[in-house]
Symmetry: C2
Subunit: 328 residues, 2 copies
């Protein structure tokens, strides 16, 4: 059976998740796709630390070595910041590799450019994992957009914020205590700024804007408010009125063609679809012309949800070669 | 530009919806798919009645005439009962046509057989429209199943029942009055038996069972209870306790490998994800191993949601020929 060679860039939580899933599902993926996938290289900054037993010989801290790997076809990227991720993915695409990324900071800014480059080189860019974790909003929207227009997108896109708001309400905790617990559970980074300031949700709604409308609003025009100024007292008051705080990102294309986005806390009552969306769950509602409003809810964070949708991206890319011949 | 010829079997609400969308989206589909789609034939039982202006010359009451149409490649089927739909789709597949169906009664019973036949003849079967209307549960689950196992599916799968339960609660109507209004709005058939008895939801959960587990439980072993025995008094009592009736279909694969399904009314509180799912909306929750629980909510009925997902099926089938070459 033919083998496809892949590299993983970044071997933290998500990178390791990909590796584990590819191992656990090796036989099944082989049977379903008719191809074997081999992780040939793993890019890390410190090659001396073996994170997963048996991977030491795959590790390198040199991207050039990965690009030179003979027959490399797929690059999974799970690095955190804009650079060097963007440069690496450009290089991978120019080497005719399909790339699959979980990097929302990089993709919010450079996604449209990377996709244009990929088209030029005849490869695919998978980016389901950049937005809403395990919730397949990118694939769903791509499919809907084949026939429908999407006019508005609204969602809870940051699992950490939603977890904190949930605990403040359900446990009566102060913001700081809920944040500490989120950090202890690995939901929030040591520096929680991106999550609680709304910047993380902002990046994700920009990715969805690019997909739905082919463009983004000017970033400076978007009001972004986090959850860090919501007090335990405010949450208590809302609960007494039967309301819940949700942190909501939204973007819409208005009738005059302009794109409007905002990110911030919102009070919802029990009739609102976002009312029962607790803990680290994410939710996305898509307003469309034919289908009406379609909502998706699922885990917005975690090693396996994120890694799983990246492996699905891979399977989807491989599936595109399925021997369909149009009889024309 | 090359043209693909299609036929529509059945020209009621859904059949006409397909025709309208294909016309409205003609240019866009052409640009996105690089192929033009032409509706070459429409199968009806009464050819004397022109339902949509300009379609008279396309109508026939003879399936043989459709199968003989030169270069026919896609058959959209929107007929209601098991036969002759099953026979027609078998014939279409044997003629190497891709088939796209909205017929849940037929597909619940014959879906696995049709898919096996299609595989043999190298064509695709699209059946997104059989289940949950505009909610893309089939595509989402197919994609998830590439990497995940689905262990349990739970959902509101009959929009008419959900509409009736919503009106009984929100307006205080009796079952009969809510049913009459549903019929007036075109949600319920003149004979509402399939909807309110739970039989419609049962067929849909059987379709999802076949997809998730490759098999169905013995139909006789499944308890199916409708909403027709729920009184206005019961609904009022539930509301006073902060609960809502939902009509829920579920199927799960148990640890011993057996498949268990049931269909019936359920009381849910405000914490339950199905609590805010009102009116004709459908909802499906999929329990998976890597992603966790993923839920989808959207319109479960209507001309455009159903027709729209059928055209998406078509676009997806065409998209599979996308020029992806594996470099091995």
């Amino acid at each position: 059976m033919a083998t496809i060679k892949a590299a993983i860039l970044g071997f933290g939580t998500v990178g390791q998740g990909i590796y584990h899933i590819l191992n656990e599902k090796r036989e099944e993926l082989k049977n379903k796709l008719g191809l074997e996938l081999e992780v040939a290289k793993i890019l890390v900054t410190d090659t001396s630390r073996e994170r997963v037993p048996g991977t030491q010989h795959l590790m390198t801290d040199n991207m050039a070595e990965i690009l030179e790997e003979d027959g490399l076809q797929v690059v999974f990227e799970a690095i955190v910041n804009e650079e060097p991720a963007y440069t690496y993915l450009k290089q991978a695409i120019e080497n005719k590799c399909h790339v699959i990324t979980a990097n929302k900071v990089m993709f919010a800014k450079h996604g449209l450019k990377l996709q244009a480059l990929a088209k030029e080189y005849g490869v695919f860019v998978g980016y389901e994992a950049t937005t809403a974790g395990g919730v397949p909003v990118i694939k769903t929207m791509k499919n809907i957009l084949l026939v429908n227009d999407v006019s508005r997108i609204q969602g809870i896109l940051n699992g950490t914020s939603n977890y904190i708001l949930t605990k403040m309400r359900a446990e009566g905790w102060a913001f700081e205590d809920a944040l500490k617990e989120a950090q202890r559970l690995g939901y929030a980074e040591a520096d929680p700024y991106n999550d609680v300031s709304g910047q993380d949700a902002f990046k994700k709604i920009m990715i969805l804007s690019a997909l739905a409308f082919g463009e983004q609003p000017d970033w400076d025009d978007v009001e972004v408010i986090g959850i860090d100024r919501i007090s335990a007292e405010q949450v208590k008051l809302a609960t007494e009125k039967g309301m819940r705080y949700r942190h909501v990102a939204e973007v819409e294309k208005r009738e005059d063609g302009t794109i409007f986005a905002k990110v911030g806390p919102m009070l919802v009552d029990a009739e609102h679809p976002l009312y029962p969306v607790d803990d680290v769950n994410n939710a996305v509602a898509l307003e469309t012309n034919y289908i009406g409003t379609l909502s998706l809810v699922g885990p917005g964070a975690g090693m396996y949800p994120t890694a799983s949708v990246m492996v699905e991206d891979y399977a989807e890319i491989i599936g595109k070669r399925a021997g369909f011949v149009v009889r024309i």
